[in-house]
Amino acid sequence: MLNRPLSLWQIPLLLVALALVLFPIFWLVMTAIKPPIDWNASPAIWIPSEPTLINFRTLFDPAAIRAYGVGGVSQAATKAVVGSIVASVSATFLAVALGLVSAIGLSRYSRTNWSTPLVILSGRMFPPAAIAVPFVIIFSLTSLMDTYPGLVAIYTAVTLPFSTWMLKSFVDDLPREMEEAAMLDGKSRIMAHLTVTVPLIKGGLFSTTMLVFILNWSEYMFAQVLSNTELATIPVQLAKYVTATAGTLYGVQAALAVLAMIPLILGGFFIQGHLARGLTFGAIKK
């Protein structure tokens, strides 16, 4: 935690960084409440004079935008929102749960220092696009194309290396004597890990969950390649707001993006308090 005052040269740097991060969000939120005529007006309109919720209504009622004389898309975003929630939540749960088990295993019970973790990470050593085509073939053969179990499986596989590595670093930081003390005091190995290791890496568990969720939530390529009629996610839906008649429906896109940001912002606030590393401070000699 930062608890010394900022020095003078740090303030302008921070302001620039802040502007870089916040400006796109500001623009996104403004676009979401602009009527179609303002979407790509030139010169650009910074703050709409007549803010409207029509873009948000269009997400769930695609015909609504026609009142503004703009052609819509046929499909409501509802399915994509539900789909994203289902896929991201289940894949995140799986990746973090499996990652936790692997992390404890690698950190505590593996004698190879780096080869196994490296093999796990090798799943991320090439661009995802390289494995998309093989996946399409495998999924077609196994009837996993265009299904949620298929998407959840691939998301889990892709994020598991991250969760394993991140969680491993948290477990590594925790002296093994913590859980060993519990074992001598009467706990089995599994119970010692569940009641001592896991609570002590709670912060790491939350931040890993958050990161994996963000990766899944914003994933576009696999969802696009693997989906047809059954499967839908928010990033795929975002790409659908491009119509032949009216060009890109910027406002509607922005509205969906704003909705998509909400769970991440809430999640961020929720885990902020748990992000303190060095929870073990003071309990062991260093």
Binding site: E180, A181, V196, I284
Partner: protein, 368 residues
């Protein structure tokens, strides 16, 4: 047949791949006794304790506790308590919860837990930290809390892995006598690992020395000091370290530093049979300076050499003389400091010639 009461290790061996951490260590630690595992870092002390506790499986060997084989049992089924060198207090639990955890995990009734924790907290002077987290406690408090967490239960044996290494010297001194008192008062069975020979000599009923994964000697503190089994042990135990000289056996006497020193009978017998060169060990306290106006008595074994180093140790001085390329360190009272100058030729004598040690070319004590 009587069953041995205590902890017994038989040819305990641990290898990590090709690396030998412990080789065929066999020893016993008596029930209600204070046994110390003494050795430098990397000697295998922690490995020994981890094997005994079941936290790691041994490559080979057996472990018995009060006559029952526990070699393959899980840590929780061995009924041992361990204090780790980093203490491993639960950082998210306060003093009370830390102390109570072994009882809670064994599902003791709440009334019993309360009663035991409070009475132990009183005994260990921990009452004031019961509602505080470890991070707010002082070094001594954490140390006592870790001790308390082990003591709260009544396990068959206590394993202590350098338990005092994290506290400052004055506190360590106080805690080690407290540790000894606790052990004796309640007839607890302790096996403690330490790299500090002074600590081992101070608290141990019996000392097991380890070096490079092997048990080198098992002895009482007195015997360990008086009759170290080899050069490594002799050097490791004692401060300033024992003086070592090239020695010869001539005409029934030990000859070293140009002095002739009567040879104790048993040693003479051995040396007579193998009159090769060997190493003589002389503890600093077995030599003394003779400063004017004192004169040596005729029966004294006396030499003289220039003074090359003085190291003040508080009430005493470690004084080093150099003779024929060999160095002799001895102790003197701090009061004589003003009478010493570097380079000055000083007379010295050998005290208790019968306590002189002799080691063969392989470093083993002839009399071990």
């Amino acid at each position: 047949m009587t069953v041995f009461e205590g902890l017994e290790a038989q040819e305990l061996t641990k290898r990590y791949g090709p690396k030998k951490a412990l080789e065929e260590a066999s020893f016993v630690a008596e029930k209600a006794g204070f046994t110390v595992l003494l050795g430098p870092t990397g000697a295998g002390k922690t490995t020994t304790l981890r094997l005994l506790s079941g936290l790691e499986p041994q490559t080979k060997g057996r472990i018995y506790l009060d006559g029952r084989e526990v070699s393959g049992l899980a840590p929780k089924d061995r009924d041992l308590a361990m204090i780790f060198d980093n203490l491993a207090l639960y950082p998210n639990k306060n003093g009370f919860e830390n102390l109570a955890s072994p009882l809670v995990q064994r599902k003791r009734p709440l009334s019993e837990i309360r009663q035991k924790v409070y009475s132990l907290a009183e005994k260990l002077n921990l009452t004031l930290v019961l509602d505080r987290l470890p991070k707010t406690m002082s070094g001594g408090e954490k140390q006592r809390l870790a001790l308390g967490r082990a003591l709260v239960r009544e396990p068959r044996f206590f394993l202590l892995d350098e338990p005092l290494s994290s506290v400052d010297a004055p506190l360590r001194f106080k805690l080690r006598s407290e540790l000894k008192r606790l052990q004796k008062q309640e007839a607890r069975s302790f096996l403690m690992a330490t790299p500090d020979f002074a600590e081992a000599l101070a608290v141990g009923d019996k000392i097991i020395t380890l070096n490079k994964g092997r048990v080198t000697q098992i002895a009482t503190p007195k015997d360990l000091y008086a009759r170290p089994v080899d050069l490594t042990t002799a050097t490791f135990v004692g401060s300033p370290p024992i003086n070592l000289f090239k020695g010869r056996f001539e005409g029934g006497a030990l000859s070293f530093l140009g002095l002739r020193c009567p040879c104790p009978g048993p040693l003479a017998k051995i040396l007579m049979a193998s009159p090769r060169d060997f190493t003589v060990g002389l503890r600093p306290e077995n030599a003394a300076l003779i400063l004017p106006p004192n004169e040596p008595r005729p029966e004294d074994i006396v030499g003289a050499a220039p003074l090359v180093d003085i190291e003040p140790l508080g009430r005493t001085l470690a004084v080093t003389l150099k003779l024929n390329g060999e160095r002799l360190t001895t102790l003197a009272s701090a009061a004589v400091l003003s009478r010493l100058t570097l380079g000055q030729e000083i007379k010295f004598k050998i005290n208790e010639p019968e306590s002189v040690l002799a080691f063969n070319s392989a470093g083993r004590n002839f009399l071990a």
